[in-house]
């Protein structure tokens, strides 16, 4: 901050001096134009805010750690609530919505009924939702929660290492979308509107070599 202020101070001085015809030989005390200083500060403030906003947007749409967007989603194998293991790469050929959630997460609860509907609606087209519980709760509690929510898609018992492979899951819910080739095409942090999910699902269903092969 002090650097920026020093810069503004110096710049304000130089602009004032440049306006003087004999600024090179001038030994007079430097005059600083307050209006110029204020104007520059306003521009810098606006740029600073805009920059952070853009950075935030980029972060939300940015590829996961390791620039994986457009690349194959990191594969993993995790136990599901039914006791069987599920390997992500076994779903190749389907569009996948990978939802990291937790039983303590209120916004996650809002999405789940939508996911139940979306699974019913788009499942026949080759769409699969996979929930990954990033929870300290017991398996019984997670199962109870999932039952209460009427979940009709597999719920896996998550591990920190899996979250890390996706760039770290520090916000819940975090949702990734994979096309039929298993490539990551989008991700969303926090609660989103249902239409956002629908758009990503449609995109995921329409992408991938499996789709091309069908055509």
């Amino acid at each position: 901050m002090s650097r920026a202020l020093n810069f503004l101070w110096a710049y304000g001085s130089s602009v004032t001096r440049l306006q003087s015809p004999d600024f090179r030989n001038s030994r007079l005390p430097v005059k600083r134009n307050p209006l110029i200083l204020f104007f520059i500060a306003a521009i810098v403030a606006a740029m600073l805010f805009a920059g952070v906003r853009v950075a935030r947007t980029n972060r939300a749409n940015a590829p996961p750690k390791g620039q994986l967007m457009g690349q194959l989603a990191p594969d993993f194998e995790l136990p599901a609530l039914d006791g069987k293991n599920l390997k992500l790469s076994d779903l190749r050929g389907k569009a996948v919505l990978l939802n990291f959630w937790a039983t303590y997460c209120g916004p996650c609860k809002i999405e789940m009924p939508w996911f139940v509907e979306l699974q019913k609606e788009y499942g026949p087209q080759g769409f699969q939702i996979v929930g990954v519980a990033m929870d300290d709760a017991s398996t019984e509690d997670i199962a109870k929660f999932a039952k209460e929510m009427g979940v009709n898609y597999p719920i896996l018992l998550g591990k920190e290492s899996v979250g890390q492979s996706y760039g770290g899951v520090s916000v819940l819910p975090t949702t990734f979308f994979l096309d039929r080739d298993g490539k990551l095409i989008a991700r969303e942090f926090g609660l989103q509107s249902r239409s956002v999910f629908v758009d990503h699902i449609k995109k995921a269903l329409s992408q991938g070599q499996a789709v091309q092969a069908r055509k």
């Binding site: 101070w9 204020f38 805010f49 920059g51 509690d141």
Partner: protein
């Protein structure tokens, strides 16, 4: 000078505004510096601990309404010289949020105070002692939740010597008053 100050304020405001919009960059809950409580040997005293939840966030109270929610809990490490007694949590506020407008959650927002009862042993030496612990909390905002965190907590307890117990006057010899 005024213009410079205004400019600085403008820059700082923009920076602060932008930071607020970026979500939690650090802990959502911070602890205020706890006052040094003076406690007499063998006597109990309550230590008030003040916490602040960052604006825009909430954490579950000590008694959330759902079994699936993670309560805010202060765990104080046991010490050999000071007995840690009951921890008293404030009542949470019943609030509903954009993600579940029809549901009321019992939460802490803004500032809240937790009282810890301490009682130094009679045998403990007078002086200043540090008591440590952690506050476990789980925060959310209007659209997302964050994994549970453990905030380190510490406070000083100054132990004072107990005043000497007044001795009963020994029975006086009747001969004295003769």
């Amino acid at each position: 000078m005024e213009v410079l100050l205004t400019s600085a304020l403008l820059l700082f405001s923009a920076w602060a505004w932008a930071q607020e919009d970026l979500g939690p960059q650090g802990p959502v809950v911070k602890m205020a510096l706890a006052p040094v409580v003076t406690v007499v040997q063998g006597k109990p005293a309550s230590v008030p601990l003040l916490f602040r939840v960052s604006s825009g966030y909430h954490i579950n109270s000590n008694r959330p309404k759902s079994e699936f929610l993670i309560p805010t809990v202060l765990k104080v490490e046991a010490t050999t010289d000071i007995v840690i007694g009951k921890t008293t949590y404030p009542e949470g506020q019943d609030m509903s949020f954009a993600f579940a407008p029809e549901e009321k959650l019992n939460v802490y927002t803004g500032d809240f105070k937790v009282d810890v009862l301490v009682r130094p042993l009679r045998s403990v030496q007078a002086g200043k002692y540090i008591v440590r612990g952690t506050l476990k909390y789980q925060a959310c905002d209007n659209a997302a939740c964050y994994p549970p965190k453990h905030l380190p907590v510490s406070f000083d307890v100054k132990i004072a010597k107990a005043p000497p117990t007044p001795r009963k006057n020994p029975a006086q010899s009747p001969h004295v008053h003769q």
